[in-house]
């Protein structure tokens, strides 16, 4: 009786094998891809930079923008401290000594307005040096600080763009694929319609329209005024999210639908139906865990697109609001301020950051795909 004799571990040769779960295997597979691991650390570094942006501004020359809003305060004391178009590595001698001298001319009340400049506890002014590590722009504002703040904008666009796209596309595509028939037909024809629209043109038109609204409802109360206020606080990112998110989900929806269609007919789904599982269980237990991998990969690989779209819009002046540093806007400013000829660092720094981050997301996405694709596993 072959049937009732339990098969021993030795027979199967499984005893030495490591515990293997789908997630554990994926992680092991990912670690094998060196480029992806490097990319992961680059992305982590940029995230770290963006989160700690306000700390970075302290080690650079000027007061940095707070939040997404650019509030570059010109130090009243340091007109001579501000070096426009400083080369990377250019160091300025601390001007606080002069500041102190200048402070001495002020009344007590006036001095209170410039607490930073009128600090008196500087031990030895002559020894303090502050450096433009990555140079400065025409206004003498530190270029590294602005690049660090630009990472905030790019990463915010990357994560919000991909999250919105994943969420909308997943729900839309799964509903369409799972219920099928006429629902599927109507929903997918709508996606086809959206697919035919040139995305960038629509985004530009929407951004122009949002600009109009922003200026019109700037001080009004009510829901529109509230949204405009939020947008202003985010440096124009809120409307950018809407414009990017509105069309980005259609590719995800198609992918999700295709995945659902292929898994819906699998026998394990039929087995679940045969034991009486409800639709909700089939969707969340059987379909979602199986289809989420390719969707995550697709979204990761789409992130460079969002970053570039934001950079492009900011470059042509339709992205973030003026005063908010963003890599696209910085490159644009660099071009206008002679970055192509004399102040090369102004072009190089934000461009390098842009290229590094987008390439990192690409390699990370590739690694993710190899790790999550069961067809490649074990090879």
């Amino acid at each position: 009786m072959t049937a009732s004799k339990p098969i021993s571990l030795k027979d199967e040769g499984l005893e030495q094998k490591k515990r293997s779960t789908p997630m554990g295997d994926a992680l092991r597979q990912f670690r094998r891809n060196k480029m992806a691991v490097v990319a992961f650390f680059i992305i982590t570094f940029f995230i770290f930079m963006a989160v700690t942006a306000s700390l970075w501004s302290n080690i650079s020359f000027l007061d940095a923008p707070k939040g997404f809003k650019a509030r570059h305060t010109i130090n009243p004391a340091g007109l001579d401290r501000v070096d426009p178009y400083a080369e990377p590595g250019h160091c300025a001698r601390d001007g606080l000594d002069q500041g102190k001298a200048w402070c001495a001319l002020l009344t007590e009340e006036q001095r209170a307005r410039f607490p930073n400049s009128c600090r008196v506890e500087i031990p030895d002014p002559n020894q303090r040096q502050w450096c433009y590590i990555l140079g400065s722009d025409g206004g003498g504002k530190d270029w590294m600080t602005q690049t660090v703040y630009g990472a905030q904008v790019s990463l915010a666009v990357a994560f919000v763009g991909s999250s919105v796209s994943l969420l909308l596309g997943l729900v839309y595509g799964m509903v369409s694929g799972f219920y099928g028939g006429r629902i599927d037909n109507v929903m997918m024809r709508f996606v086809d319609f959206l697919y035919g629209i040139p995305g960038l043109v629509i985004i530009i038109i929407m951004q122009v329209y949002f600009r109009e609204i922003s200026s019109k409802y700037e001080d009004s109360s009510g829901i529109v005024g509230f949204i405009v206020e939020i947008n202003k606080d985010l440096g124009g990112l809120f409307f950018l999210f809407i414009a990017l998110g509105l069309l980005s989900w259609i590719g995800t929806a198609r992918l999700a639908r295709g995945q659902v269609l292929s898994y819906r007919e699998k026998e394990f789904v039929e087995a679940a139906r045969a034991v009486g599982a409800r639709d909700r269980r089939i969707i969340f237990v059987h379909l979602l865990p199986n289809i989420i991998g390719p969707l995550l990969v697709a979204e990761t690989l789409a992130i460079p697109g969002y970053i570039f779209a934001e950079a492009f819009l900011s470059y042509i002046g339709l992205g973030v609001q003026p005063g908010t540093p963003s890599w696209g806007e910085m490159i644009s400013r660099a071009g206008q301020e002679g970055g192509f000829y004399s102040n090369r660092h102004m072009i190089y720094v934000p461009s390098a950051a842009l290229v590094m981050l987008t390439l990192a997301f690409n390699f990370f996405g590739d690694g993710l795909r190899d790790a999550l694709d069961p067809r490649l596993r074990g090879r």
């Binding site: 072959t2 004799k5 339990p6 499984l14 789908p22 024809r189 045969a274 009486g276 199986n290």
Partner: protein, 344 residues
Amino acid sequence: MTNVAKSEKVMTAPAKKKDYGDPIVSVRGLKKHFPIKSGLIFQRETAAVKAVDGLDFDIFRGETLGLVGESGCGKSTTGRTILQLHRATSGTVNFEGTELTTLKGNSLREMRRKMQIIFQDPYASLNPRMSISRIISEPLVVHGIGSERDRQKRVEELLERVGLNPFFANRYPHEFSGGQRQRIGVARALALEPSFIVCDEPISALDVSIQAQVVNLLQDLQRDMGLTYLFIAHDLSMVRHICDRVAVMYLGKIVEMAESEELYTNPLHPYTQALLSAVPVPDPDVEENRQRIILKGDLPSPANPPVGCNFNTRCPVAIDVCFDWDPELIEVLPGHWVACHRVT
């Protein structure tokens, strides 16, 4: 309609050799047509694939009924329609006195505890993201049976029962071979202690050596638990070994049904004869002189079946009447049913 009434009448006649009890499943006039739609948004039904086109048969408690036929003849659709995984277009399926085709929602879910299915492809039938213990306990979770610990115990019992080490419970499907996966599929089907199991070609995706193991397992389970099988297959020698009775399907209809020895020794329908003549014999002398009946042409499209007898396009002995009327399934010998004008 006369067809249905008539077959119901004769169907209850006592069977020949074995003493069959009550039918556990009674299928009458079962049809499953898949609509073919056309149109961009407002789709109209332009035609239908008649996958199953009028079946009448009983499955008796404790027996194994084989269902054979070539690819695309509607074997699997029949099994799935009986289990209400496809809803029937018309006809009735009576399971232990309950009419299934009209059941919905919770009452149907309750009935699913008594009937289960084992699939052909052991790779597609287990969710790759679930551990074995989750796969096997899923039926229990769905029906809210037992506590978490009871279920775990039950999973271990079931794994033991199908010849796998309970130690494997926390592993994932990709760590198992085809035969082991098929055992896991059997364990899942057994979890709810069903009385009727549709085996949808459970061995055709396996190695020959593994096939025997799985077949033995199924037979042991049948003996110990009093299971009834509808065994869908295309391996005729395996069917002869396993099944008490065999039904031969062609293009959505049963053409011949008899006890398996009777069918294999005395096939009456020309299609059955052709099928059996294709079975290789493991004896070189016999094999050399074996007369094969080669059928002309291909299986006609089930969307557009021939007028008259389904088989008339390929039948070597067709006569005029075959092109006019569809023959009914008639009991020509005790327990031996044939649908052929040339036999009756």
